[in-house]
């Protein structure tokens, strides 16, 4: 559907190279998108990344296993509990440490709380991308409740260093448990408000339905994972497909996109999957809190951790998709190589394919719906 029909040579208009550069309100950080536009329609888009390349993998080879945990927090800084959880599971799997049940439960509670906080930031920023300022304030209001819980639990607001190799840093006390119960009640009361605010908003629907449609095959071919994949209808969630750290004990559904407001796999579906995931996470936290076993919160771990020779890959369900750590060790206290499988890295690689013949304003909607975090893209 080409807007400028085959016009004679004298009327042909040229394409303009536009920079959605590193400093841009809607690129969620320092992503530079070079767009070739013909009028308002986008012909090509070349994402340029690397503006936040902080040499994580070089650092991970130069410091001991324990010292890497704070750096994993800074990869996907919106869900640092999940990153540290994935890394600790990888080290424990290779080393063979046995994590006590209470520690696994605490890790799950913290990770799911962080997932809700990350989705709330997505909800706020996606509202901002579409031009609505109030969802940002609503989203951050609930997020502050979570941050105060996690601050009591681990001491930090955004980067926690809470999961440690072999267990967790601190134990939960009844006051935090009560605050979590109160948060669950509050979140369930407020959730319908979000729908009235953004999901059912006519302008929002017009901006996101049938925009940036990703088919199931394209999602799998480009290696999309997480809400981007489930938005296109593939029911694959690592917490259900390959349960790690006692996730098999909780029952929760995996929300997938059904094309309610438009074709299957458009921006609205990805947005709706994340909103539903918040409710599922609430269920997990409730069950984990109810069934919290007694016992130790950390296993017996030698002061200097030396992993046996070998390699291991453990993937976990991060709010943005499958975040995996591939550790190769040769017996020394430092790893030979630690590679991070960053979900946003693969999720972003599809932009050039789906941004063809799309209005420039919709590029903002597509990039927002993929929900990228530059910390883990550039590592």
């Amino acid at each position: 559907m080409n807007s400028t029909l085959e016009q004679p040579e004298s009327l042909r208009t040229e394409e303009l190279l536009v920079n959605m550069g590193p400093q841009h309100p809607s690129t969620h950080g320092v992503l530079r998108l070079l767009i070739q536009t013909d009028g308002e329609l986008v012909r090509q888009a070349w994402p340029h990344i690397g503006f936040l390349h902080r040499c994580f993998e070089k650092i991970a080879e130069s410091v001991t296993y324990r010292q890497v945990v704070p750096y994993t927090d800074r990869l996907d800084y919106l869900a640092s509990m999940n990153n540290a959880l994935a890394y600790c599971l990888a080290v424990e799997k290779l080393a063979g440490f046995e994590v006590p049940e209470r520690a696994s439960y605490l890790r799950i509670i913290a990770a799911e709380l962080n997932r809700i906080a990350s989705h709330l930031v997505f909800f706020g920023c996606y509202g901002l991308d579409m031009g609505a300022f109030t969802p940002f304030l609503y989203g951050f209001r609930e997020r502050e409740l979570i941050l105060s819980i996690l601050e009591k639990l681990s001491g930090g607001r955004l980067l926690y260093h809470y999961p440690r190799i072999g267990g967790v840093a601190r134990d939960i006390d009844p006051q935090i448990a009560a605050e979590i119960q109160n948060f669950i009640k509050e979140m369930r009361r407020v959730w319908p408000e979000y729908n009235r605010l953004l999901s059912e908003n006519a302008i929002f629907i017009k901006r996101t339905a049938n925009v940036g449609v990703i088919t199931k095959e394209a999602a799998v071919a480009y290696g999309l994972t997480g809400p981007c994949l489930r938005g296109s209808g593939v029911a694959y969630d690592l917490r259900r497909a390959h349960p790690y750290s006692l996730y098999e004990r909780f029952d929760f559904e995996i929300p997938i996109g059904q094309g309610l407001k438009g074709t299957l796999g458009d921006c609205w579906d990805r947005y709706w999957v994340r909103l539903l995931e918040m409710l599922e996470s609430l269920k997990i936290i409730e069950q984990a809190l109810a069934g919290l076993p007694e016992g130790q919160i950390t296993a017996k771990v030698p002061p200097v951790i030396k992993l046996p020779e070998g390699e291991v890959y453990v993937g976990c369900e991060n709010p943005r998709g499958e975040l995996g750590f591939y550790i190769i060790s040769d017996g020394k206290p430092q790893a030979l190589r630690i590679k991070v499988r960053a979900p946003s890295f693969s999720n972003l690689s599809i932009t050039n394919a789906i941004v063809r013949d799309v209005l420039v304003a919709d590029v903002v909607a597509i990039i927002g719906s993929i929900d990228i975090v530059l910390g883990e893209i550039d590592r």
Binding site: S3, T4, T13, L16, N19, M20, R32, E40
Partner: protein, 130 residues
């Protein structure tokens, strides 16, 4: 009768004084340090690629014209409302209302025409082109 023009004169004088006064204060207060790096084109932090003086897509003119048209219509609504209030006060109110509705219908006709011929959205619908 002449005094009314006095009020208009004061109004104009105050307006210009206010505008040029603030500009003058600005001249004294603001720092003016022009160097070539500051005058470079802002492109999200990147140096600009190619020149911006290219042949634009003709749809831009189309959208600009449609906007101008409806903008003028909005400006015309204010005097229409004032005239309506005045005529409704003096003559029969229903007749004044009819006149206003007729005026609004004419404006809506322009909107319908644009809408039908697809000038409102960027990609011209095939069915509309005759």
């Amino acid at each position: 009768m002449y005094t009314q023009f006095g009020a208009v004169l004061v109004f104009i004088a105050l307006g210009t004084a206010f505008v040029f006064g603030s500009l003058l204060i600005g001249y004294f207060v603001r720092l003016s340090r022009h160097h070539e790096r500051k005058l470079t084109v802002y492109e999200c932090g990147e140096p600009t690629i190619g020149s911006a003086w290219i042949r634009y897509n003709s749809r831009f003119y189309n959208v600009a014209l449609v906007y101008l048209l409806f903008d003028v219509e909005v400006v015309l609504l204010i005097p229409a409302a004032l005239v309506f209030r005045q005529t409704a006060a003096e003559g029969p109110a229903v007749q004044a209302l009819l006149v206003l509705l007729l005026f609004l219908a004419l404006l809506a006709l322009g909107l319908a025409y644009e809408w039908f011929y697809g000038n409102l959205d960027w990609i011209k619908k095939e069915k509309a082109t005759d």
